[in-house]
Symmetry: C2
DNA sequence: AACGCGCGTTTCATTTAGAGAAACATCACC
DNA sequence: GGTGATGTTTCTCTAAATGAAACGCGCGTT
């Protein structure tokens, strides 16, 4: 279409060279249908993606054949299909990282009696990979697979603080720093200062910066190259937590220790010592 | 490529008209990576899908940009990416059918004290949509999202027995009737007879025909057009179950009743009566 | 060290497979 | 019954994907 595009350069639509445009469009449609909270109609989809009706029709037909979307012939609307559930089940049982992390997370939850999370950096967000609810009466709901912002969560700041300098700069540049609560850090200088502190202490805090009722503590799990491959932490109910500085200090210690041991398991004792200091 | 293909007719590669070949290829690659139990290399993928290396590279680059696959730069291998977890989380919370089914499934499990399942027909398989473990000591593991064969499971047979005649014929035609245990029905005439009985009784059994240690009982949940929109059932541990005909009869009654009530909720009392008989 | 081999990546010309317009078919709502 | 929006099919043209080939690289072998 764009005839003047130099080969090898980025195209006008933002799709970089070496990627397949039509495939990408199809994935966008699938993503749209999954993200929508209700079945979507063809015209609606074509309009939001801004592609031709006819093309949308073909994409949807292909997705349907694959079982990825289900078409309701009555209402002519499209929703997530059975294959997605199958994929979910398959991806979920993929022990991968989680098999290694689980025991540590288990112990952290048992020790602190708070809800524990493990997250990785994915698409400029913190992606919650695992969750264990506390045994206490108040339980933060399970939100595995959910994205959370980097700038105002403990897990996010732990991940952000331990990125290579250029990557961190790029991320900070790209982030929106949306305000969620009065406590949210929304200016880059303040955030940078906070990250420096996280780097020093190897513990990140979230004092109701994202969710007004949560006080979170997280530490990075660092790989052999010194960058965070994940972050582990716990969530406390905010109004109760802030009144108990001794309890917070204790939780910080336990999260920190847990992350250090995980880091040692992943990357060895020398890296762990470099990040968390000597035992 | 195939220049002689008549417009509108099926293409030589089996892809029907109106579907996008390249998009389909991309989805096949994604499916392959998800299904694989280990990270895959580019060459491997290209060979199994039988596409050009260069194309595979482009597809993978696109998938990676989307976060659907994660590339390990060290080993140059591809695995399922974070976006899939995100999709899983999003699809999972989709209350849809399950919100309606859950209470019934809950009650069935409570009444029978056995593990309960709910499945739908998807891609010539029974797709497990929900599961509740029994409160007893022996628990069948959770397998939500898993496909099971139609010809040798109680849920599958319940679904199969209540399909429109032509669809049922087509399905029977297409099925492989693979043998899993000595009890598996592997010839079509026998299977047809079994389905006729299921249709009469509105209860399907699986006497260790798929898993040698399971005895399963299931009934169809029928929609307003008289075809099964799902199936609900329980799994008993086989060697214990067969010794207790009275227990089995009781479970059958309870499963049947649960399915009837669910059918009534979905399709109304008249349909329920037509399938399950008068109360 | 030189060699061969397989793999990943990039480039390039060829041509298919997809895009888009338009015609058609339905349906809903005035 | 007409008007407009939507879903579906057909057709033509060309942009976009394809596949061959070339390149660079790491690895194991001789």
């Amino acid at each position: 279409m764009r005839a003047g595009a130099t080969p090898g350069s980025a195209r006008a639509d933002g799709a970089p060279a070496g990627t397949l445009q039509s495939f990408q469009r199809g994935l966008m449609i699938l993503d749209l249908i999954i993200s929508a909270d209700r079945p979507l109609r063809l015209a609606e989809i074509a309009r939001t993606i801004t592609i031709d009706k006819a093309s949308a029709f073909r994409f949807l037909a292909t997705l349907e054949r694959f079982g990825l979307v289900a078409k309701d012939e009555q209402t002519k609307s499209y929703a997530a299909g059975g294959k997605l559930l199958h994929w979910s089940a398959t991806v979920g049982r993929n022990g991968g990282v989680m098999a290694l992390v689980r025991p540590y997370l288990d112990r952290l939850v048992a020790e602190t009696n708070e809800s524990g999370h493990f997250a990785i950096l994915s698409s400029e967000r913190a992606l919650l990979l695992d969750y264990i609810g506390s045994k206490g009466t108040i339980v933060v709901q399970n939100r595995v697979g959910v994205y959370e912002p980097l700038h105002c969560t403990a897990l996010g700041k732990a991940l952000l603080a331990f990125q290579p300098p250029e990557r961190q700069r790029a991320l900070l540049e790209a982030l929106t720093l949306e305000r969620f609560t009065p406590n949210t850090l929304t200016d880059r200088p303040n955030l940078k200062r906070a990250l420096a502190r996280v780097r020093d202490e190897a513990v990140a805090l979230d004092d109701a910066e994202y969710n007004p009722v949560l006080y979170c503590v997280a530490s990075p799990v660092v790989g052999s190259d010194g960058t965070a491959i994940g972050a582990i932490g716990v969530s406390l109910v905010h109004p109760l937590a802030v009144r108990q500085p001794k309890r917070i200090a204790e939780v910080k210690r336990k999260v920190r220790r847990c992350a250090r041991e995980l880091t040692r398991a992943f990357a060895g004792a020398d890296i762990a010592a470099a990040v968390f200091g000597a035992a």
